[in-house]
Symmetry: none
DNA sequence: AATGAATGAGTGTTCATTCAT
DNA sequence: AATGAATGAACACTCATTCAT
């Protein structure tokens, strides 16, 4: 390993994520990535063919990791108690996303642009439901969760009232906390309260408090 | 080729909204706005001091119009029956947003960037709750909606499980419909079903079906 | 005509010709063209979409002008005496080329590259023989010049032993004169002697002296 | 992947010649040479101090080889019959150049640039006349060829109506054959016909047919 | 002898903005 | 009110060259 190939490459991607999140992909400057990553700008092009391909690589890795997480929860942890499973899953998912909140920002921003590509956020959603949707629905029902039998309805409900609120919370919590002067822990528990009393309540079929 | 101030100015803003939505503010080019609006590029600078100020003007007008809509519903239409009021409000709000979906895209994108400004989406939310939050809560409760007495909690719930899903639906419905091959009317009713069975159910304190 | 569009455009092309000739198209720098033409670099791109298109425009104009010259000699000046016509033509052609020697340098250089385009020098040759080759041959023969009846042979002979020596003389005469310390007038008459005693002698069917 | 000095070095030069010819020296990329020669880019700099020095080495070797060829014909083969000598020389010279046509392309291209160096094509010409020009002229005359007694005139005639047509034929024959759909053998004989009936005719003092 | 990583100085091109009319 | 011309500062990307091993 002459010099430190992997370290440089990793550093570039980390900084790129930060700056893409901060300024948007189009607002980000390759020069700035180089400066902040403390590497020569040409080195970025030594590892990545273009600015866009840095982004694609970021998404690719994110999708890989997401896949693994999802699979592990529907396969490996299948033996957990239902209530325990839910909490474990929610927590793990939340932690996973919070650690990648910059990527989520980029993902949302890029999803809103009007190009021909599939919005990356749809790709992410598809990952979550990647396995046989039938199987997914059955496995959730078996666990006692109320789910629509209509697959299309199920996806709409899960996307707009589950995934989206969670992602939105993750990408906006810092700003919310700062601008409204709310402690982060309290904000988190308020969000969980909101999520429980709407989306979770729906799944559990309980009257919300 | 418009030869009068207002027409040109309006055309510029309309086209700017479209292009900012399509490519993002940073991805948009003043040249392209000029070309598509069929005005000379320098004319844009005759009416707007800079590219950013076009955006600010867009947001300003949007906020003005939003304000008016909100106020009208809490003041002018106060005499409507409760159930009728809710539906009328939801429909009017939805129509209003759908007509401005491009602005919403821009608003979300710009809100995600990390600059010192207040994210425009928070500004939009504040507009909705602009009048005395107390008064708002009371007025909702009076109408029979379950609302948290905790003002902070109320805002969190309304933002992440009401406003956000609605905005997200509006900005993604075209892509969703196209990519998943779902008819727009059906998508709308599925979204309404999702919204009702989670957020509305919470307000109405009913068991969701 | 706000400011001086045409002047700038013309200046850019003139300087581009000079620099492309001096350094080759690939060795030339747009920056240098801008500097030497005393225009802003971006102005170059205001008039020409790319560096390559500057070159294409240069060739286009050169070809137009060549066409006109050729046509004028085969049509307008058809009434001249034969010997007079030849000398007039040769002189006019020579003057025309000497005034455009930089373009010829570029043309030769670009013709040698291996891309899919037709080498510009072939395009130039085709211009010369553009009118019905038959007609051309007949018109030359009528004037008493020996010409091959085989069209392909005729083109080969004219290209390699007429056009090419002339072009080569034009593009190398300055360097020759400087490096071998030969006066330009003398060089010219030596070249004419060489040309007469080989190519012209062939056409005239005379024993060279 | 060659593991020995000479093979790598030779491969680099061969590929460099090909690419310099294809794209011009300035249009050629060291990266591309490395890729096509299947050697590491840094290895090129291990053998050659710079891109320019690759070119200089190419020319140096070409000139050496040319020298040898010329000398052999004026010394070693001096005992051949005159007519035989001429044909043998022309054929050998032609073959030699055809095998090096890529170098000739580079030579012409580089000769056209305006730098202070002696154009390599003049260097090549000087090689041919390197020995005492007097001696050369006498030796040609002795063989019965008509030659100008004026040394300067002789060089002009030989350069522009002998060397240049031959070089030009060699560097353009492939393109000519392809673009005009002429068989290469036929093209060669047409060129020889053109050359004979102009330049050779001059030397032989015969009326061209 | 050979290589993957790294770099400084460019290089063509773009862009928001301004000028002159 | 409107426009074609002009500009300075970037910008993504490239390239010859060197380093460290």
């Amino acid at each position: 390993m002459p010099r430190n190939s992997e370290a440089s490459q990793k550093k570039i991607m980390e900084v790129a994520v930060k700056i893409f999140a901060r300024k948007g992909f189009d607002g980000a400057r390759v020069d700035e990535i180089a400066r902040e990553a403390k590497v020569n700008k040409a080195l970025i092009y030594y590892y990545f063919k273009s600015k866009s391909l840095i982004l694609e690589e970021i998404f690719r890795i994110f999708n890989d990791e997401s896949s693994k997480l999802i699979i592990s929860f529907f396969q490996d942890q299948a033996e957990l108690e239902d209530s325990e499973w839910l909490i474990t899953f929610f927590d793990a998912f939340m932690t996973f996303l919070e650690e990648r909140k910059d990527i989520l920002k980029i993902m949302i921003t890029e999803s809103l642009k009007s190009n021909e590509n599939e919005p990356p956020i749809f790709g992410f959603m598809n990952l979550i439901f990647q396995q046989d949707i039938e199987k997914y629905i059955q496995s959730m029902k078996k666990r006692g969760f109320h789910m629509s039998d209509d697959k299309e309805q199920m996806m709409v409900t899960e996307f707009f009232t589950d995934i989206i609120p969670i992602l939105t919370y993750v990408v906006f919590k810092d700003k919310w906390s700062r601008l409204f002067g709310v402690d982060k822990e309290r904000l988190k528990s308020m969000f969980f309260e909101a999520y429980s009393s709407t989306h979770l309540a729906y799944h559990l079929g309980q009257k919300p408090k």
